[in-house]
Structure formats: C-alpha cells, structure tokens
C-alpha cells in the first residue's frame, strides 16, 4: 500500500508549477544524470584502456628501468607491495581500532579522555594523507625508530620502509575501523548485555563472547573500507615507502629484511608511469590503474555485501 501511494505521488503533474520550480527540477535531474554519466565514463574508459593494454605477463614480470617499453617489464613488485602494505596497515589498524571502539562505547571513562580520543580520531580522519606522510617521515627518522627502516652511515635513519609506511597507513584505515565497530556495538540492544550479566558473566567475558561476535559484520565492513583507502593511497607511498621501482631489501632475517626495505605499490607505479612521473609509459599506467580500480571496486563491493547482511538485532 505504502509503495503504491508513493508511486502516485511521484507522478504528480508539474503542469501547475512555476517555471522557476520546473527549471529547478530539471537541474536536479541533470545533476543526478551528470554524476551517473561521469561514473559510467570513468568505468568504461578505464575498462577499455585496461583491457587494451593489460597483458597477463605484466602481472608476473618484475619492473625494470628501461626507456624501451617492451623491455621495462611488468608490475609484479608493485602488486606485491600493495598486498604487503595493505596487510600490514590492516594488521595494525584492526586491533587498535576495535580496541578503541570497544573502550569508547563500553567503558568511555574518564569522560574527558574519551571525548579527546573521539575527536582525535575525527582529526586523523580529516588530516590530508600528505601531511600524515610527511609527519611519518619526521617521526620515523628519529634514531629511536631506526629498527624500522634502514640506517645509513653516520646514524642517519632513512625512515622509509614498509614498516613505517604501514604504520601511517594504519592511521588512514583507523577511522573506518573505529566507525564501523562503534556503529555495530551501538546497535546491539541493551538487553543483550544485561542478559549476559544476568548469567553471571563478567564485563570482559561479555565483550569477548557476546558483543564482539555480534558486531563482526560491522567490524568487517569498516576494515574492508579502510583497506580500500590504503590500496588507493598514493601520497604516503611516494613519501614513506620510497616508491622505488623494485622491492629493495635490507640486510636481516628474510621477512624482516624485506619489510624494512622500500618498494612501491600500484598507486605509485601509476603515478610514476604517468606523464607527471619519471617513467612516462601511459600504457603501463593504464594497465596498472585498471588493476587498481578492479581491486578497489572489488573491496567496496565486499564491504557493501557484508554491510547489507547485518540485521541481527532488528527489533
């Protein structure tokens, strides 16, 4: 019934409207259509260019510095870099973000501290990634953090590595994780908590056994959105990861040595291969950008799928 009445309202004739009002309606339609057109243009154009230039061998060949495009290799290293950096950033952001959100919603005392943390997260969300990147560089060039990256002669800390970039990427993802978790926790009705207490469970047990499992979809949505942000971020990669063409490892145990080294991701690969960067190989940039776009859109679809599935507490 409700749907039917709304449908009738939608066909209200505009014949009696003033010309100005009709003009405004037309403007609304065209604004909406314009956005659709832009989105469609981006997807179709990138898809066309991507399929035109993407060759399977690009995915498993290492990039080489060569001005001859047939010999400059593919983008295996940036691909690994993207995966590694995203994993690292998520690994740091997930526990930190969930812990922050649980503390904020379930404890939140002392209140002034909670409010400070809350606004701190908001400030981080509003800080441009370029400022985060450059701040990370000052921070991790302190000799105290030398173990995270490569130390040059004379104790100058390089400050650029997967580990340092991962830490800053965690800050990029953090607001999304905190937001998703908080929203999920807040949507759990009070009586669920009270039932758990009534069964004699402690607060810690309630959080671990009841609240966290129930808010898993929310946490997952936030995390996946944050991952999308990390994958798409360029400024931090250019400044904090060094954006070297190949992965450059530092001496040390296998995994640690790699993570202390520098590398690049798909975003910095695209940047460097665009006319603005040093590589200037538009075909490669299009191919990498296509892969990047597929990854990001895929992550968003996953987030949407998880997000739409949460209706456990509809009352």
């Amino acid at each position: 019934m409700a749907v039917a009445t709304r449908r009738e309202a939608a066909v209200e004739t505009t014949a009696s409207w003033r010309p100005l009002d009709r003009l405004a309606l037309v403007a609304c339609w065209s604004a909406g259509m314009l956005l659709c057109a832009i989105a469609a243009a981006i997807v179709i154009f990138m898809g066309y260019k991507g399929l035109q230039f993407l060759r399977p061998h690009l995915l498993w060949e290492r990039p080489l510095a060569d001005s001859d495009q047939s010999r400059s290799g593919g983008f295996l290293d940036p691909l690994i870099g993207t995966v590694a950096l995203t994993a690292l950033g998520t690994l740091i952001a997930l526990p930190l973000g969930v812990a922050t959100a649980v503390w904020l919603t379930e404890f939140g005392r002392p209140a002034p501290l909670a409010r400070a943390v809350e606004s701190g997260v908001e400030v981080i969300a509003g800080t441009p990634d370029i400022v985060l990147a450059i701040f990370g560089l000052v921070l991790f060039q302190q000799s105290f953090f030398g173990f995270l990256s490569f130390t040059a002669e004379g104790n100058a800390v390089f400050g650029r590595s997967f580990l340092t970039a991962g830490c800053m990427m965690a800050l990029v993802a953090l607001p999304f994780v905190v937001g998703g978790t908080r929203e999920a926790l807040q949507s759990i009705p009070r009586h669920v908590r009270e039932a758990s207490y009534a069964l004699g469970k402690t607060k810690a047990a309630t959080i671990r056994r009841v609240l966290l499992p129930a808010s898993r979809p929310g946490i997952a949505t936030g995390t996946v959105l944050g991952m999308g942000r990390i994958v798409g971020d360029t400024a931090i990669v250019v400044i904090l990861l060094g954006a070297t063409l190949q992965l450059q490892r530092v001496d040390g145990p296998p995994l640690i040595g790699d993570l202390r080294g520098t590398g690049s991701t798909l975003t910095s690969y695209v940047y460097n291969n665009s006319p603005a960067g040093e590589g200037n190989a538009p075909e490669k940039a299009y191919a990498a950008a296509f892969v990047l776009l597929v990854v990001v859109i895929g992550l968003n679809l996953v987030a949407g799928r998880i997000g739409s599935g949460r209706s456990a507490w509809k009352t």
Binding site: W17, L34, A39, P128, D129, I130, I134, T234, V238, Y271
Partner: protein
C-alpha cells in the same frame, strides 16, 4: 599522538616561519617566482649559518585557495541538487543505480583521477580549448599547456561531490516526514516543499558536508600535482578567460613534487612549513565541522 604530530611538524617548520615572518604568506619578493626561491633554498650552502630560507608562499596559497574554493562552490551546487534528486525525485530504479554510482565515485583512487586528467582532459583542453592566439598572449609570463586551474577544479569537484552527497542525502532523508507532509497539505508543490522545508532543516548538515569536503580538497595532493601544471604561478583574475586556463600549484601538490628534496635541511624545513599550514587549516576545519554539527544533535536529525 595528535599533539605530537603538531609539535613535530611545527618544530621542523619553525626556521622557515621565523626567518620570513609575515612575508612567508606574502608574494615572492623582488618579482621572483616562488619556484626560483625554492630552487635557491634547495641549493643553499651547506653551512647552517648561511642557509637560505627566503620564500613568499603566496602563489602556492593562492593556488590552494582557488582550487579549493572553485571545487567546493561547484561541488556544493552539484551535490545539493543531486542529493535532492536522489532523496525526493528519482524514481526507485534510478535511485537504486545512484547509490552504487556515488559509492564508486568516492572509491576511485585519486591517482586514477589524476591519470585520466593528465592523459585525457589536459591534452583536450590544451589542444581544443586554448587557441594559439591565447597561448601567445601570455607567452612571456607563463606557458599554457592545458594543465590548468580549469581541469584541476573540474576533477576536484568530481572527487569531493560523493562525500557531500553521502552526508546531505542522509540529512535530507531524516527530515521528519510530518514536516514535509504538512507543507504538501498546504498545497505547496514538491520542489518548494523540498527547498523551503527539507533543505532548510538540513542546513547544518549541508555546512558539515561542505566543511568535510573542503578539508578533503585542501589535502588533495597527488591528483593536483598531476593535472594542475606544477608551476608556482598565481593565476591572475585580471586575465579574463585565460585565468581559468593558467597553471597553478597548491601547497599539498608542492609537497609531493618536492618530496625528493626533503633531506636538504632548509628545503625540508620549508616543505614542513607548507605541511604545517595545511595541518592547521584542516584542524580548524574539523573544529568548524564539529561546531556545525551541534544544532543537528538538538533536532536529532542526524547522528
């Protein structure tokens, strides 16, 4: 953490500010360009007492202001109209398409926007919109290649509109139905109802959305460094239409472009000064956004 960030960046930036005083915010002295000054700082002698710091960052600040203000003004109109469209006028099938469209536009990484800009829009503007005559008219001042304020503002608008639409449509949707129904019952047509009741009730959310979008536009670095021309040139409104086609370079893009020079001490400090200005302005914007949201909580219109 936040405090540490501010302290660190300012400690690094201080020599640049203290050396120039208020001239830091002024135009480059003696008619030089800001790029020449940056080069001078980069090549300054290794002796700490003879470091070169002189800079007038006005062209960069002006570039930031222009791109941000242009994109926010355009984006506000576009976002308001399209969120009204989504909430009120779109037939259900169209509405179902619009949601993923907005999400998609928000998700596209800035480097992809930049790539499209530099490989498609910039050559198009350079080859078709700028006549030879126009190029010659300013050839002694600046080169017009198509990397311009126009392209930068256009792409930046597309980048910030999704953020605004997300917030605005939420707010418009949560305007109490009784208010709009009351207006409709008085015989007011639907456009007038939306415009006078919903939009007015959601005004704090519109401000909050604008503030957020401004912060995003201020901090956008990669895309702007790719399409805005990367010359420290202050577009001059007196040039008429050419104004929109002149290149510029905002603060954030300057940081990306010069990231390699960070290890040169005075140069790095100057770059940190740019970052400090950005940090303070986004911080102020967060504050403003928080203040703008307060009346919303009173009505319970948005969370």
């Amino acid at each position: 953490m936040i405090g540490g960030m501010v302290v660190f960046v300012f400690a690094k930036a201080w020599p640049s500010f203290s050396h120039n005083g208020l001239h830091w915010f002024g135009p480059p002295a003696h008619g030089g360009s800001v790029d020449d000054q940056l080069a001078g700082i980069f090549n300054s002698p290794a002796d700490p007492r003879r470091y070169e710091y002189t800079i007038g960052a006005w062209p960069l600040i002006w570039g930031t202001l222009l791109t941000t203000a242009g994109a926010v003004a355009l984006g506000l109109t576009l976002a308001l109209l399209s969120s009204i469209f989504i909430v009120e006028f779109a037939p259900p099938p169209v509405r179902r398409v619009m949601q993923p469209v907005i999400r998609l536009l928000a998700a596209v990484p800035s480097v992809v926007y930049g790539l499209i800009g530099i490989l498609v829009l910039v050559p198009f503007v350079g080859n078709h919109l700028i006549s030879q005559q126009r190029k010659e008219s300013v050839v002694y001042v600046v080169q017009l290649s198509g990397s311009s304020l126009l392209v930068a503002v256009a792409i930046l608008t597309v980048m910030i509109v999704p953020i605004m639409v997300a917030i605005m449509s939420d707010a418009l949707r949560s305007v109490p139905r009784a208010w709009t129904e009351g207006s409709a019952a008085l015989g007011v047509n639907r456009w007038r109802t939306v415009w006078t009741i919903s939009v007015r009730a959601a005004r704090p959310a519109l401000i909050a959305a604008t503030v957020l979008a401004t912060a995003r536009a201020l901090g956008e670095a990669i895309m702007l460094s790719m399409v805005s021309g990367s010359t420290g040139f202050a577009p001059n409104p007196l040039d008429g239409l050419t104004f929109f086609l002149e290149p510029t370079r905002p603060l954030a893009a300057t940081i990306v472009d010069n990231a390699e020079g960070l290890s040169v001490k005075p140069f790095g400090q100057t770059i940190y000064a740019f970052a400090a200005v950005l940090l303070v302005s986004t911080f102020l914007l967060s504050l403003a956004g928080w203040a703008a949201k307060q009346p919303l909580k009173r009505y319970g219109i948005a969370g």
